[in-house]
Symmetry: C2
Subunit: 414 residues, 2 copies
Amino acid sequence: MKRILLFAAALSLSLAALAQQALGPGTGLVSPEINPDNSVTFRYHNPKAKVVQVTGDFLPTLPVEIDLGERKIMYNAPGVADLSEGPGGVWTYTSAPLSGELYSYSFLVDGKKVMDPSNVHQNRDIATWTNIFTLSARPGDPGWYYEVHNVPHGNVAHVWYDSPTLSSQRRMTVYTPAGYDSGNQHYPVLYLLHGSGGDEDAWSDLGRTAQIMDNLIAEGKAKPMIVVMPNGVWFNQAAPGAAVNNFQPTMQNSRSQSTQEIEDSFPDVMNYIEKHYRVAKGYANTAVAGLSMGGRQSCMLSLHYPDVFGYVGLFSGVGLVEGNEQAFAKVFAYKPHLYWIGCGKEDGVMVNSKKLKEWCDFQGFPVTLYESEGGHIWRNWRTYLTIFAQELFKDAPQKAQRPIRFSNTTEEFE
Amino acid sequence: MKRILLFAAALSLSLAALAQQALGPGTGLVSPEINPDNSVTFRYHNPKAKVVQVTGDFLPTLPVEIDLGERKIMYNAPGVADLSEGPGGVWTYTSAPLSGELYSYSFLVDGKKVMDPSNVHQNRDIATWTNIFTLSARPGDPGWYYEVHNVPHGNVAHVWYDSPTLSSQRRMTVYTPAGYDSGNQHYPVLYLLHGSGGDEDAWSDLGRTAQIMDNLIAEGKAKPMIVVMPNGVWFNQAAPGAAVNNFQPTMQNSRSQSTQEIEDSFPDVMNYIEKHYRVAKGYANTAVAGLSMGGRQSCMLSLHYPDVFGYVGLFSGVGLVEGNEQAFAKVFAYKPHLYWIGCGKEDGVMVNSKKLKEWCDFQGFPVTLYESEGGHIWRNWRTYLTIFAQELFKDAPQKAQRPIRFSNTTEEFE
């Protein structure tokens, strides 16, 4: 009993003391709250605000014109909704019922962005932080795969390796599936590349790679595999804050966009992985995929090393046909198990994705084009990974839609 | 040339497309900016705000009285400073020159917390997000150890293990030093425990464990070691969002504060580590330390397993003397290499730290008490780790200040 009393005293002390640093008074609000009909209620306390809004990808997008100087393009900006002020300066908004997804949002208080202080879940996308929440409307919908379920979990490691080609230590993120630690099995490998401005943390954080793989593997929908997420910017060693002199995300310039350095140094990544992990090597056990810039890099890697990657995924990325016709022919001479393109109908690079698909069709190179709704957004990339991962490391190669033939006539695809 | 043109088109497209999701217009401001004299300038754009302030631990603290009902206590709240409005609605504040440290801050816009949109570096402490920056005023000051330098880097893995005692999968964070991957050496292990409300990510994120260890090891000031950071809340599998049904941080109730379940299940943690890592086992190679609740747990673990931990660190944690006199005697009968207490002079638990030190002195049990400035804050815990880690796994046991003797007379220390 004395011990318990001592406890209580120590506890109240430490609670008060902790309040200095961390807990504060708490907001006393639940936000976001997922309602039984899958609508979501947002709450924010601010008696002085004149206008409080929420903006996020759960709202219908707004078409916006962007002036690029020589031309104007349309894009779909995240929607905005007004919260209503209630008693005590608490503002609320309830959405329409939502489908199962991972959603990003933030508040706008008199026009300025404010994070939701009642929601500890935030993600950084390049230089932008937003609050996030997942909603699992029905088992098996996309949101369900991004949530943590009571299934065996794989591990996620942030690993430094030597790149002799780039003369630097570099950091990558490695997912090993549940059971890896306790067994002797060798596993196939998916190399998964981020987009421009991203880093080696992008796929594991915003991309929910570990959750997607854990859930797909537990359901028997994907084979257990290692997923390797390197940093795809050749002049960055690591994510902002994890490397010397790398404090802000940088959009890549055209030099890095060219991916040449990433192509040349990619054997350094694979050598490290094949040396330090139990890897099932070879064409049938090696995949590469990436989003946006990483999609382009995946394409270039497949062209550069046509006998290495039996599975290739281009997520909102484009492959350049012109000048690479011979290289593409070599890629398809190896009969890849899967050459897969995913792109959103509203994505600016859809035109390029379609061109690649059409050219490959014309050549008789079997390529899958998956067209989703929406634009150049993470929601699509998570979906593409979920779909693509299920197709990996199956035994049979993808069937050619028609016999492979190669033509030099490529002008209509420039 | 054609290829380059295609590139430029694809790049501008992808830049515009990316703007949908991530980059936005950018703030166009540098904040925080570290000036040559180590003062720091904060900038924030908001033409509509009436008052913009910055609050953070770089400012002198403000004494505040907290009413706990039966009694009132004083604590030192983070200071607040006003920004001045300049042209175009840009508010600025420049601090006094600062010492080398990792600092946390956020803005208050008309009294409501707002993150600094120009600074991508944020950390979560339990339920509170703040912006952070590190400042290295002089080589070797604390801030220097928390920054990333051009030294060999260790890896950080988020690892799931089975706890038969708690009948669950649980997650921990494991730091392995540079060179671990490429060699055959066996390494000593520091088990490092977080505080109430924290989780297995706290030490690696806000605690800067990897940076501290990388830098100390590179300087030869600490021995290469494995650092294991388990989740110290027995009813949580993992950090918020990493486990099923664990979306918000929870302050522990007295039941978990009792640490009994953590003591009982600790062999599950050690068994996993000793099975899956190259561990130099035994008393002289095994340390435990923790902050606040984790300090208490470290003390209890040392009492529960007196022959296991040759090095013990209590950071702003308290050990309970009463009822544990015999257990403490047993701990010191093994002649621990180091039994170390670190506490801030303004910390509410200093009284307990001093009592433990005095009682141990009285018994002739050699205990080190390191008194720092400040309270129950991360700044101190990072410092304690930096100091404590340098003392670990040296050959000679700490010398007793006087011959060990045991007394049952403990009333003055209740």
